[in-house]
Amino acid sequence: MRSYLWYLARRFGQFVLVVFVGINIVFFVTHATPIDPVEQAISSATQFGQSDPRAVEIMRKALRELYGLDGSIWQQYLTFWRRLATGDFGPSLSAFPTSVSTLIGQALPWTAGLLSTSTLVAWCVGNFMGGLAGYYRKNRLLKGLGIVATGLQPIPSYIMSLVVLILFGYLWPILPISGGVEMNIHPGFTFSFLGSVAAHSLLPVLSLALITIGAWFVGMRSLVSNIVAEDYVVYAELAGVDRHKILTSYVMRNALAPQLTGLALSLGGIFNGAIITEVVFGYPGLGTLLVRGVNSGDYSLVLGIASISIIAVATAVFAIDLLYPLLDPRVKVR
């Protein structure tokens, strides 16, 4: 027990460090871009309408003051951490004066739902099928699945989303291809609302999952085909232990721990894939918000979303680290 607590403390320390360093990197990268939110604002305010050059000068001065962009980068840095300590990312620069936290709060549940569903589905299905394929190497169906999985895996998220969209939104239009829920519906725990949410999430989840299923499948299959040659599996077979028991408790069970680590390490990458998928399907999540933030030079918003995603991914990694000793008892000792 004490060793577990020590393990836990060390992991937590690492978690804090990772989040701190990560957010710092994002802070300085966002502040190093030449995109100026004031100029962005002026540009959008004058692009179609009146554009008296004298007026633009007045507007520029007023906006600079309002956005508080005149302080040095160190002042901004201190302000940022002071605010962050209270869970506040300050006002959005492209949706001034709405706070970044409000914007993220609206989008986060959608992304969380989309990501957790697709990741969970892909991880379970991919690992299960990959495990079978690694164990029953001769099975033709599984071999075929292996080829399909290998083929799906390298397809960029964008292409996959587009293909899925064309297939089910155009050639065989059975599923909604836009947004998170149908228009004008009243949100709440009603069958129609939840059903609509589920239906709208199906294609994004499918296109995200198809790619990652392939990756898990391939990874699990090669893991399993190594584990099958391990002494304890051979010995168990020699002892006439039940085949299903060997497959589940000996082979898959031992592959689970590395695949779980793999999951933790790939969460960041999965988030990247989700961004583009959200954009293609117009899904109201963080990805869409992020792309808009980037496009409008709203570095408060970009910084907020990047921080949230760092914290979320690091937390997930931390949680998986906590679970890991339950899966692999050897870890405690190390």
Binding site: G169, P173, S178, N184, L202
Partner: protein, 633 residues
């Protein structure tokens, strides 16, 4: 094992079938499809959807229906013909009246106009609008008022008097809608707020014929409902708006918009690619376009051009600018960018609305005789048949979609353009001190002549395509030219002067009205910033010219409707041809696609060009009174 596989497959199938059941449900809950007009909001998903205070910079959204259906202001100028002429007195009952030296403007307002909460609209609202924004320069129009207005008063409930700081014959344009203008604020709502710039204005109290019904907290859609008292709005003069509901939605990328219209789930596409339009024209018999055939699109009164940065030495020389112009084959650019569906322009105003009548027809002969003298040879560059040639080029594949009548071709494809001539270009470049060595052009200082053309990438696909083609033509001539995609931060970067050439526009006009001051006033040399400082809109090219200043000063001295305006406009165009500060290309053609499955009465170039159908223009409100539901058979 096989059983496990089977179970898995079965679960999947069952899952997808039950999902299908949900999917077949309507995509718009609780509203009959034939009562709602669904239009694209080209701003996409709105970052700040709960924000309806349109008067602050960086507010939520313009074209989510707010400015089209909810807002109103004094005057509208239509980019096309207009329902009742180009000029519409909206909240004002008459045109603006200035005193003789343009230091005072008086406005008379209509009676019997009411806000959607039942409060009457009065002159106090106009005064409040001006004064509040002047107090808050972070508002969109506040700085404009600060620059011009000395005081504003309301002698009675129907009259507003503006005293101006200096002579300004175009002051009314702040209240005159081209695409938008300063909208009138509801004083009775805003005066209760301590800080009007921090007020969400949710739900908005509207002056237009619709009110907000519901909207997506994630900013993807807004649904507006016709006001029961629509007669008490300015649009009441033209009859009842057809659609009971109007939805402005984010339909996603261009291909998805096409798919949505094919599925009849999007009545008005704001813009898509030329190829997308061809697909609709072929596969969707119910789709309607501004032009029945080519170019389908609505030409907006904006002039995409090659904008040179005149701070770059090479582009200071007129000969270089003209040489680069004479290397462009407009037919290829038109094909590459718009697949031929462009409306080309050789001169520095867009060939749209009523401008052919004001500028193109009168100048055609002058253009034909315009001559370039390179010192070695003389060349008449204008080829009046370019549009005709493009039409001929398209006819074999597009057949009857291409008009035959020269007049129709002129409206659809434009008129002439500059005839490419590498020989003349060479002579001009050589006169400017450039040299060609080893197949590469060198600048007078001996370094390679390289041009990086800034394009907007996927933010403006068609312009990007045009830019790529132009660069290719320059490259084939031996100039080290390339494009650089710089989406999203494009105009701020152009304003900063950190570019060589850009596919952009610095010319925008009223379309329906010949006055050019909308863009031209800002081209005065008094506003040109030194290199390194930000250039205010719209003289992105930082071109300054004493003759130009003279023309602008003369325009300032005459009234908006003064017939001398057209004359001065023609002078400007001739100057711009001689100097070629930017290379004019075409009008900004917007591929607006309208589905007639549920609604008819859309505007059309051939039969009824009553307004611009492009749904992010505030003028879209005029379309509502013309739209009628399709009778179910």
């Amino acid at each position: 094992m096989k059983a496990a596989l089977f179970c898995l497959t079965a679960t999947f199938l069952a899952g997808s079938i039950s999902e299908q059941a949900f999917a077949q449900a309507s995509f718009l809950a609780g509203i009959p499809r034939n009562e709602v007009l669904i239009a694209e909001n080209p701003e996409g998903r709105i970052t700040n959807p709960t924000w309806f205070n349109i008067w602050v910079v960086n507010h939520g959204s313009n074209s989510n229906g707010l400015q089209q259906l909810g807002m109103d202001t004094l005057w509208y100028i239509d980019p096309d013909a207009g329902i009742d002429g180009v000029w519409d007195n909206s909240l004002a009952s008459d045109k603006p009246s200035y005193n003789s030296d343009f230091t005072e403007m008086t406005v008379k307002l209509r009676d019997g106009i009411y806000w959607s909460d039942g409060v009457e609209f009065t002159a106090d609202d106009v005064v409040y609008t001006v004064e509040t924004q002047m107090k808050n320069p972070t508002t969109t129009w506040g700085p404009g008022f600060l620059a011009s207005v000395d005081s504003v008063t309301a002698p009675d409930k129907n009259t507003v008097v503006f005293k101006l700081k200096r002579a300004n014959s175009r002051f009314h344009s702040l209240f005159t809608v081209r695409w938008n203008a300063c909208w009138i604020m509801p004083k009775h709502v805003f005066e209760k707020q301590a800080d009007p710039t921090k007020f969400e204005f949710n739900p908005p109290v509207t002056l237009g014929p619709y009110t907000l019904k519901s909207f997506d907290p994630n900013g993807a859609w807004y649904i507006w409902q016709r006001r029961d008292d629509w007669q008490r709005t300015t649009l009441g003069r033209f009859g009842e708006p057809g659609p009971k509901y109007v939805a402005y939605i984010d339909p996603g990328p261009p291909d998805k918009r096409v798919i949505l219209q094919l599925n009849h789930e999007l009545d008005i596409i704001h813009d898509t690619t030329p190829e997308g339009v061809f697909t609709l024209a072929k596969q969707s018999p119910s789709s309607h376009f501004w032009f029945k055939g080519f170019p389908y699109a609505h030409p907006d009164p904006t002039l995409p051009a090659v904008v040179f940065n005149h701070d770059i030495d090479a582009f200071k020389n007129r000969d270089v600018r003209w040489a680069l112009t004479l290397l462009i084959d407009m037919k290829a650019v038109s094909m590459a960018s718009y697949r031929g569906a462009a409306t080309i322009s050789a001169i520095a105003v867009p060939p749209t609305g009523l401008y052919p009548k004001y500028y193109f027809d009168p100048l055609e002969d002058w253009l034909k005789n315009f001559e370039i003298d390179t010192g070695k040879s003389k060349y008449k560059p204008y080829d009046p048949t370019v549009a005709q040639q493009i039409a001929d080029l398209l006819r074999p594949t597009m057949g009857d979609k291409i008009p035959k009548d020269p007049k129709e071709i002129a409206t659809a494809f434009g008129r002439g353009w500059w005839k490419p001539n590498p020989q003349v270009a060479t002579e001009l470049l050589e006169r400017a001190g450039f040299k060609k060595t080893g197949g590469k052009w060198m600048k007078p200082d001996g370094t390679p002549f390289s041009i990086t053309m800034l394009v907007e990438g996927d933010q403006r696909p068609v312009m990007t395509r045009a830019g790529t083609m132009i660069v290719q033509e320059w490259r084939q001539f031996g100039i080290d030219a390339k494009t650089q995609a710089y989406p999203s931060d494009f105009f701020p970067r152009v304003a900063s002067g950190d570019f060589e050439a850009a596919m952009a526009w610095s010319v925008e006009t009223w379309g329906g009205h010949p006055d050019l001051s909308f863009f031209l006033d800002s081209w005065h040399s008094e506003f040109v910033k030194p290199a390194g400082q930000r250039q205010p809109p719209r003289n992105w090219q930082r071109w300054s010219n004493p003759e130009l200043d003279k023309i602008i000063e003369q325009v300032r001295a005459i009234g908006f409707d003064d017939p001398k305006g057209v004359d001065l406009g023609q002078q400007f165009i001739k100057l711009a041809v001689q100097e070629m500060p930017i290379i004019p290309l075409m009008s900004y053609n917007v591929f607006t696609c309208m589905d007639t499955t549920y609604w008819t009465g859309y505007p059309s170039a051939e039969t009824d060009p009553y307004t611009d159908p492009v749904p992010n223009w505030a003028n879209t409100k005029y379309m509502m009174v013309k739209l009628k539901p399709v009778e179910k058979k």
